[in-house]
């Protein structure tokens, strides 16, 4: 075990893991559905086996030690990805959709994973973001970026407003309130003619930066890129920002407070945590992430309708969070990618999509309710391992063992 530890805890191992992951993602994206799903099952099984041996923890530690190498090689591989997907429109589309869902799942995780408040309305918030972009561009002729900023503001305000009544409710009642909100949202959109009713809004303007269109075929270094690639890069940029925020929040006092509320609300209250503020924080930041994801997704698809953001979409997002692992940002991104790719690869069998989601959720909940990459145990003594406090603890431990002998 010790030799394995030293072997894994090296820059070469980090580099190797990154390359293996990139190659795996490439093959999962490129191959046809049987091979792709086979590879994904292999990946899940591998992750589970590594987790049982505790090796996955070692890998995470190695990533922590050699952050710079991990980030640099990751950036190089991410830049290489678009070139390897040359001219393959459909696969670039899948990758972009997966990135958008990953952002929404990170938002949902603030409520579901960290604070243990099951929110059944993330799709409604995605829809709010998407509709604000659609209305801004098609009705007022504004830029989609304005729509995105407006969408983020609107979802933030709605997250606050919906968070207010939910402060008084808990458990099943909270679930029912959010379900009611989700169903009411879909039905309300259906009845408003200004928003296109059940037809939705099509022809939404695509994003562009200073006249540089993000949905166009570009040729870079003689390689013809798929039209979605520039937008994919922008989405990955947003995903990195969101993941950074999520990880920082998790490691901050705020994240700790959210976890404390999830464990025991009364105890958290007694420790001086302002429960109302923390819950509202989780709701607002989560809905902002969802709104951002929705406004990005509408920029890719160019169409938004009430059916794109209904209850089943919420269920799918919840399924992604549980599959990946609650309260673990990396796991959630993995979960979002796996489920998006499964559903897109099974597009030929569209009738079975819902069935696959629900069966995956039931089986996951029974076999492994913590997800593929479960939440890690927080390490409080990591930062002052060399400090006197830690040394005293070590000394006391040693004494205790002596005493037992």
């Amino acid at each position: 075990m010790e030799t394995l530890k030293t072997k894994i805890d090296s820059p070469a191992a980090v580099l190797l893991t990154n390359i293996v992951l990139a190659v795996l993602i490439f093959f999962i994206l490129m191959s046809d559905w049987i091979l792709s799903i086979g590879l994904m099952i292999l990946f899940i099984a591998g992750a589970l086996i590594l987790d049982q041996n505790g090796i996955i923890n070692l890998i995470f530690d190695a990533y922590n030690h050699y952050k710079h190498i991990a980030i640099l090689s990751g950036i190089v591989l991410v830049i290489m990805l678009p070139f390897s997907l040359t001219g393959n429109n459909y696969i670039s589309h899948i990758a972009t959709v997966a990135v958008c869902y990953a952002i929404a799942c990170l938002g949902l995780n603030f409520q579901m994973g960290s604070t243990d408040m099951t929110n059944f309305a993330p799709a409604a918030f995605m829809g709010l973001g998407a509709y604000s972009v659609a209305v801004c561009t098609t009705k007022f002729g504004l830029s989609p970026w304005t729509g995105m900023i407006l969408g983020i503001l609107i979802t933030g305000v709605f997250g606050y407003l919906i968070g207010l009544p939910t402060l008084k409710t808990k458990g099943y009642y909270l679930s029912l309130v959010t379900m009611a909100i989700q169903i009411a949202f879909t039905q309300l959109i259906n009845t408003i003619d200004y928003l296109g009713g059940s037809d939705g809004i099509s022809g939404v303007t695509k994003y562009s930066i200073f006249g540089f269109k993000l949905y166009k075929k570009y040729t870079v270094f003689g390689v013809k890129l798929a039209p979605q690639i520039p937008f994919l890069v922008v989405c990955i940029f947003f995903l990195i920002i969101c993941a950074y925020i999520a990880i920082r929040v998790y490691h901050s006092k705020q994240g700790l407070a959210l976890n404390a509320i999830a464990q025991d609300e009364i105890a958290a209250n007694c420790l001086g945590i302002n429960i109302a503020n923390q819950k509202l924080f989780a709701f607002v930041i989560g809905s902002i992430f969802c709104g951002l994801a929705g406004s990005l997704l509408v920029g890719l698809e160019g169409y938004v309708g009430p059916d794109s953001y209904d209850f089943s979409k919420s269920l799918m997002l919840i399924c992604m969070v549980i599959l990946g692992g609650m309260d673990n940002s990396i796991g959630i991104i993995v979960g979002a990618f796996i489920l998006t790719i499964i559903s897109e690869k099974l597009r030929d069998f569209a009738d079975y999509q819902q069935l696959v989601y629900s069966l995956v959720l039931v089986i996951m909940l029974i076999i492994r309710p913590n997800g593929i990459i479960p939440r890690r145990v927080r390490k409080y003594f990591n930062t002052f391992r060399s400090s006197t406090v830690a040394k005293t603890i070590e000394a006391e431990k040693a004494q205790a063992i002596d005493f037992n002998k």
């Binding site: 099943y172 079975y352 629900s358």
Partner: protein, 321 residues
């Protein structure tokens, strides 16, 4: 005035169907403290099994040879057996494995199971039914069965004469009968009393020698029967049934149970009637209100949960450390 009275009748009818599914939620929640969210889908499965049992017995020539009430009872009995099987399967697949984990796990797994039931109804209804009909009628020609995703016509078992008044009376009467029988069962029989004991304190019930496993299984059997009748009455009231009605219907039933106060039978009645009245009167009295009936119903539910989370008849629980 005539409009008002007809609205009143349809509100009560809709309320009856909501009440029945809310009763299912109450039974399961009372004994296990768990929300079995796929109750609506189980009820729709019950309605589908009524349809298939009717078609099969009709094709086999059994249904016509019997008087209508007897035939209806046989059809209902077959459907109830299927539905009880599904409800027990629900317990063993998606409730029992989570008896020691947090309360939201069974909620999520039953929602997922409900979606699975719904999708399986849509996908598997046609192949299974055409094979069964072929087996019963012994004809090899292809049989025209509509896909499970299409609306299915409910056989007119309650209004064979064609009048809807007769049907309305039977729906109300059946609901009252089930309420009465359930009330007697819960308060007068040993099994019903042990259900109440488990609902109050599970450990103490164990210690008093109550067979908890058997009681829970019985609860799911009774719940399956109640949900079959709920689906059958809903189908007869709407005269068509869709495979995906279950999720909305189940959410409404859950809302009714929560508004009335989970764990209380009469609360389920009050909640179901409230929802029925709100929906019918919104769609009947407000011009263009049909579009908004579900939205307003859910807004009423949200307001109730926020201001009276324990429900109309529920007891206020004070959390202690």
């Amino acid at each position: 005035m005539e409009i008002f009275s007809s609205l009143f009748v349809s509100a009560i009818l809709l309320g009856c169907t909501y009440t029945l599914v809310a009763l299912g939620y109450c039974l399961f929640f009372g004994v296990l403290d768990v929300v079995v969210f796929c109750s609506g889908d189980i009820a729709i499965f019950g309605a589908f099994s009524v349809i298939s049992a009717y078609i099969l017995t009709y094709d086999a020539g059994i249904f016509q040879s019997l008087p209508l009430p007897v035939g209806t009872l046989i059809v209902l009995a077959i459907a109830a057996v299927l539905c009880v099987g599904l409800s027990l399967a629900t317990y063993f697949v998606s409730v029992k494995p989570f008896s020691k984990s947090s309360a939201l796990m069974p909620l999520l797994s039953t929602i997922a199971l409900g979606t699975a039931i719904k999708e399986l109804l849509g996908l598997a209804y046609k192949p299974i039914m055409s094979n069964l009909i072929r087996a019963v009628t012994r004809i090899d020609t292809p049989i025209n069965v509509t896909s499970g995703r299409n609306p299915q016509a409910m056989p007119k078992l309650l209004n064979a004469g064609g009048s809807t008044t007769e049907r309305d009376f039977i729906i109300m009467g059946l609901t009252l009968l089930i309420l009465f029988v359930l009330f007697l069962f819960l308060n007068k029989t040993k099994m019903g009393l042990s259900m109440q004991a488990i609902s109050q304190n599970k450990e103490l019930a164990y210690m008093s020698g109550i067979n908890v496993k058997k009681t829970i299984n019985t609860t799911f059997i009774i719940g399956g029967i109640v949900l079959t009748i709920a689906g059958f009455l809903l189908g007869s009231y709407q005269s068509v049934i869709r495979f995906d009605t279950g999720s909305l219907y189940g959410t409404k039933g859950f809302s009714a149970a929560v508004v009335g106060g989970l764990k209380s039978i009469w609360g389920a009645v009050i909640g179901g009637m409230l929802l029925g009245f709100v929906e019918v009167f919104v769609s009947g009295l407000i011009p263009g209100g049909t579009q908004y009936q579900n939205i307003i119903a859910f807004i009423v539910v949200i307001i109730f949960i926020v201001f009276k989370p324990e429900g109309i008849l529920g007891e206020k629980t004070i959390e202690k450390v």
